[in-house]
Amino acid sequence: MTRFLLSALAVAVIGTTGFAHKVWLRPSQTQLSGAEPWVTVDAAVSNDLFYFNHFPLGLDGLVITAPDGNQVEGENQSVGKYRSVFDVPLHQQGTYRIAIVNGGVFASYEQGGQRRRFRGSIESLEKEIPADATNLRVTERLGRIETFVTNGAPTDEALKPTGKGVELVPVSHPNDLYVGEESTFRLLVNGKPAKGLEIELIRGGTRYRDAQDEVHLTTDANGEFSVTWSEPGMYWLETSTEDKETSVPQATSRYLSYAATFEVLPQ
């Protein structure tokens, strides 16, 4: 079962190479208040945004960073048929960064004249590839799927980049997005601003319209892109790139992906 989930994830993560699946976290709300508000988060892989109609997203790589920069656990974790769920009590004032960080490998090889493929964890690579495999090609992958929620006023401490893979850093705060306003974000690859990243941005509720109405954007020399929000809603952003900075000896390249969910509020 676990392997099945993992392979489903891998399919989803390489979405831009031909599959239409979208991986996402969707918080119940993004701006909260009160003595100790809770947010509940859905995690899934689907064709449509944000509907549970394909696969749950595994929660093994769940990393929640609190406003003080420390990590906290997701509560009430559950993996269902079509979605995973967890809750986050917001004990602190400020912004929480909620992420699922996945690492692993894709591999292809030949055995007895047959072309075979493998997807799994880095640890399982050596065990699973047969000794008589030839023409082995290994690609490391590192994916980050995230969203942001704020209790009270937005803060930046939890949004400090880790320097690994694709990450988004705020120019505009991700929990301060409003219709009619322009927001700017910077994308980093391995901690450095990344020029020329191609971004796809889609507003949720795709089931209720005829087209995806996706917006394509590209980062500039500072790794920045801007968007002016025309309608309120939950938005999904996705980008990916490749590099050679592998940590797996057999891998020749590394595939990096990033997806995030933002809430845009009406004025």
Binding site: Q31, L32, S33, G34, A35, P37, T150, G152, A153, P154, D176, Y178, L265, P266, Q267
Partner: protein, 174 residues
Amino acid sequence: MKQLFLLALMSVAVSSVSADDPPPRIEVSVNIPRLNVSEYHRPYVAVWIQDKNRKVVANLAVWYQIRGNNKDEGTKWLPDLRQWWRRSGRSLDHPVDGVSGATRPAGEHTLQFTGDEKRFANMRRGDYELVVEAAREVGGREMVQIPFSWPPTKTSTQTQSGETELGDVSLTIR
């Protein structure tokens, strides 16, 4: 004590603008309509003054559910006052002295202030806007805005009316 002294200083600074004249008086009346709905909840209401950049310069009132089993329970819904929450509410400690109050029933509610109060200390000469925002559980949200100039040169009353969650809102400055 030191704060009190500062306060007194600030009041002097504001009132000295108009020399020997008494400080202006500000009166806001907010009408909460009686709605014929099956499940009626009193609205959350915020009243503030903002400048041309929509920056809040003075908070006049925020009415929300203060009583209850849990003291802070009602603050959970404060972000429903979307504009006020973003411009001001989210960076305040609740309850706010002299601003926070319990929700009000349908009818007319009057707020009175004098221009030398601490809350108006940041109001320089210029154009401002009174904003009243109301949001109701299982109901709607509405904002009413009234522009005015400060300090007042003569007594004036302006009235704007909401369509759903707010009735007449009046601002009198004298």
